[in-house]
Symmetry: C2
Subunit: 143 residues, 2 copies
DNA sequence: CTGGATCCGTTGCGATACTG
DNA sequence: CAGTATCGCAACGGATCCAG
């Protein structure tokens, strides 16, 4: 058997592909905004600068851990600016950078698409679910 | 214990927010394309109809499970059309619906953004990492 | 060729406790 | 007020086996 099996070949391909993905900007960014809170933080900052506790209230369902973690990632990527005011109670303001604002606009565009096509997607789902409840019933009498 | 603690209030808010998110089209769609392979399948089908094994080769690193699962979700949402040809070896072709094509275009737009701003993000990351106090790396061979 | 079922590791995310 | 550190759960994703 001089040739590798399909499974073995796939594994090799996966390894190479994995390395390829590591250098893919689109994938990296997609992985990043894929998080549950990234887009929410982005839109929450759309109004303007917000304090940490402000964001916590705006997004409401977020835990401190996730809010901080999300903000850290966004800050590291230059999407969000973190401004510390060394008051007695420490005050920290977060705001979108121009880069972050452009991404927010993109997310908004996505939101626009989702809302515009929600009906169609919903209808498709209902249709799909109706056609595959058990894979047994034949609508209209097929055959 | 007269008033609820901040933690308790947050939990109540989270419950309400969770219900709110369940009805949010943007979140649902975002959760959906957030998957590792959704966008890849979308772009892989951009060329035109593809067979299952074709997609498997095009995307290369994907497992059968994830490819099938991704295609199922996309089909259910009316983004992908599944066409079965009952040959002796069963043949299945997948293609984008107009709805799926519009989403593909949106993903392509995102890809465009990612590539256009990759340098800026990368620079921001390098800057952030350079300013990080305690990283494992010690510049200048200090230590 | 297509893809369903199952086992298993990894990771995201939430809850909690603690610090400055 | 604004975080940091740790534990635990559940979902995501991959490998493998099995079936039509």
């Amino acid at each position: 058997m001089p040739t590798r099996t399909a499974e073995q070949r796939r594994q090799a391909e996966r390894a190479a592909y994995d390395a390829y993905l590591a250098a893919c900007p689109t994938r990296k960014l997609l992985d990043e905004i894929a998080g549950k809170w990234v887009s929410l933080v982005l839109v929450a900052l759309g109004d303007g600068p917000r304090r940490y506790s402000d964001l916590s209230r705006r997004i409401a369902g977020v835990s401190q851990k996730m809010l901080t973690q999300t903000l850290r990632v966004l800050e590291r990527d230059g999407l969000v600016r973190r401004e510390v005011t060394p008051s007695v109670p420490v005050r920290v303001d977060y705001s979108l950078t121009p880069l972050g604002e452009s991404l927010r606009a993109l997310v908004a565009g996505f939101k626009d698409w989702a809302e515009a096509n929600f009906d169609a997607v919903d209808a498709a789902r209902a249709d799909y679910d109706a056609r595959t409840p058990d894979l047994t019933i034949e609508p209209g009498g097929a055959g």
